[in-house]
Point group: C2
Chain length 210, copies 2
């Protein structure tokens, strides 16, 4: 059984929890509170030198980092992971876009505004850039979703999971989504997917009984 090192309020960690729930894969959950420095301990850094969650133990002492890489691993072979060469590349395109253009902006705003008390003041010099770049990324997504129900092909895939994680908390960190109707309709569609779980959801403590 997988062990997932995750922080409950981390959007990157939520991606993996959402995929595992959708796929019905049981796992053991270990909460790592990065706000308390728990991802920077020598024990954790020995598992992931980048000092980040999520981290998946895929086999004893074999660890996989980076949320979007973990998505490809856990969803490999399922309907969530397109394997056709061009469709796979298009899914990857959106997932690299997410890590390069969306997460560093909306994710950073979410971290400092929604999670850190006083973060709005501490990061006041950076928030303007995050808002500008975050809105630019949302604009690119809106343009695509105005013509397509999902990011890749006609079905829900891990590309949607990757982009959903921070987009669905954007309003918690001052982004106004009223002028992005296609994004709001897509958020609703994802919440109607079978197996959908919220960010607060935790798996039953199955592992404890095993």
């Amino acid at each position: 059984m997988y062990t997932l090192y995750s922080m409950q309020r981390s959007g990157n960690s939520y991606k993996v929890r959402l995929a595992l729930a959708r796929l019905g894969i049981p796992y053991k959950l270990v909460e790592v509170d990065i706000l308390k420095g728990e991802s920077r301990t020598p024990e954790f850094l020995a598992k992931n030198p980048s000092g980040q969650v999520p981290l998946l133990e895929v086999a004893p002492e074999r660890y996989l980092a980076e949320s979007n890489a973990i998505l490809w691993y856990v969803a490999g072979g399922s309907v969530l992971a397109p394997e056709d060469r061009i469709v796979r590349a298009e899914a990857l395109q959106w997932m690299f876009f997410e890590q390069h253009s969306l997460e560093p902006n909306i994710g950073a705003a979410y971290f400092w505004i929604a999670l850190i008390k006083g973060g709005r003041e501490l990061q006041s010099h950076a928030i303007e850039d995050w808002m500008e770049n975050g809105y630019r990324a949302l604009g690119v997504m809106e343009k695509h979703l105005a013509r397509h129900p999902y990011f890749v092909g006609p079905h829900f895939t891990i590309a949607d999971i990757a982009l959903y994680a921070y987009t669905h908390v954007a309003e918690q960190c001052d982004f106004d989504l009223t002028r992005f109707p296609a994004i709001r309709a897509w958020l609703d569609r994802i919440q109607s997917e079978p197996g959908y779980v919220t960010m607060d959801w935790q798996p039953q403590p199955l592992a404890l009984a095993q």
Copy 2:
């Protein structure tokens, strides 16, 4: 034949040129000077709403963006793209690390210090962060390369190409690699790979004759 929209001095564009050269795949090269705003014209934004290079036209009017997604597309089915599920995920882990932890720091420093006249002064407030975060990323890479010849498995893959692009120009933007011997040995190994081309290299203008 592919058409690649690329900027000669862009590390992200170089990744694709290096992979195509290694694979011996001919293509038509279109230079897009982002410093002159050529990636922000209405014509270019119609091809790629993110306004970035590289961009690959994989079929008439079908465009693929994001350098690392393009690498998976052009290398798909070749020895450069591992397809085993866990090895593929490990390659993706390093490629997402590259876009999230290396490129935004060394790539930004390279852009402002090596490409933009006066950039060191214009971005003086940000350079310290880029240096600190860039050195942290190099530290993670050094730790891995001290024990492995390449990033994934025993051979050169697109994960190496992705990480090579900005690492090999790090010294042009003030990073000191003397304390990263494993990285320097890896840079040398890549430069000895068959089909290696430098960042300055351009393909013969094959397309013009066709």
